[in-house]
């Protein structure tokens, strides 16, 4: 009852906010949260698109993407904790080990 394009617009706004957060913040944790925001926007597009064709398959794919996101968050936060042990900081701009 709502045009699919409306969902795309909302998802675009969420994705852009996530991108802005990822590009402008220094705190690794907030940057990571922004990534989650973008993942959610992508999932929203996936479900909105599949709602006119095959919502079942769209949901199944979205479910796999949720599993991937969970695994990614677990490992990602573990890496942030390991980094924090080395540096006592979560400032992305201090993580310059690989600058050579």
């Amino acid at each position: 009852m709502i045009p699919v394009a409306d969902y795309y617009v909302v998802a675009s706004v969420l994705f852009a906010i996530g991108a802005a957060g990822f590009l402008t913040r220094k705190n690794l944790l907030v940057m990571f949260m922004s990534v989650e925001l973008m993942l959610n926007a992508a999932n929203l597009v996936l479900l909105a698109a599949s709602s006119t064709h095959d919502l079942g398959r769209g949901s199944a794919m979205a479910l796999v993407s949720v599993a991937v996101a969970a695994a990614e968050v677990g490992v990602g936060l573990a890496i942030i904790i390991a980094l924090f042990r080395l540096r006592a900081s979560v400032d992305a701009e201090e993580m310059t080990n690989l600058h050579g």
Partner: protein
């Protein structure tokens, strides 16, 4: 119907009743939280503002760091939560899926069981 219409039958109508209910609950919480501000008097004192530690002067800061153990338990929780989420669709249709669906689920549970066994061996589930 115009061709841009997305959802034909939204189940959304089933969930409308939650709105008036939520209004009632939130209203009650707000009233309960605001009334003491109007009814009771407030005094401040340096010692009263301190954190309560059995009546003794507080020692050190509360902003300290905690064991990473809590984190590992939370990660295990998420991964097993996903397992449950994947098994819900299987459980609702296990009668139709029959033996094939069952063997699929067994493989799924067995793989994650390996993970539980690994965490068990590495003593993540022990607290000391």
């Amino acid at each position: 119907m115009s061709p841009t219409l997305a959802v034909q039958t939204s189940p959304f109508v089933d969930y409308v009743g939650i709105a008036p209910y939520l209004l009632l609950v939130v209203g009650m919480i707000v009233v309960l939280m605001v009334l003491p501000l109007l009814l009771a008097k407030t005094t401040r004192h340096r010692v009263k503002d301190e954190a309560y530690e059995c009546g003794l002067p507080p020692q050190g800061t509360a902003k300290q760091r905690f064991s990473v153990h809590f984190y590992m338990v939370a990660v295990l929780f998420i991964l097993f939560d996903i397992e449950a989420v994947f098994l819900f669709p299987w459980a609702t249709s296990v009668q139709e899926l029959g033996p094939i669906g069952f063997s699929g689920a067994v493989v799924f549970v067995a793989v994650l069981g390996l993970g539980l066994a690994y965490a068990w061996r590495k003593r993540v589930l022990d607290w000391n």
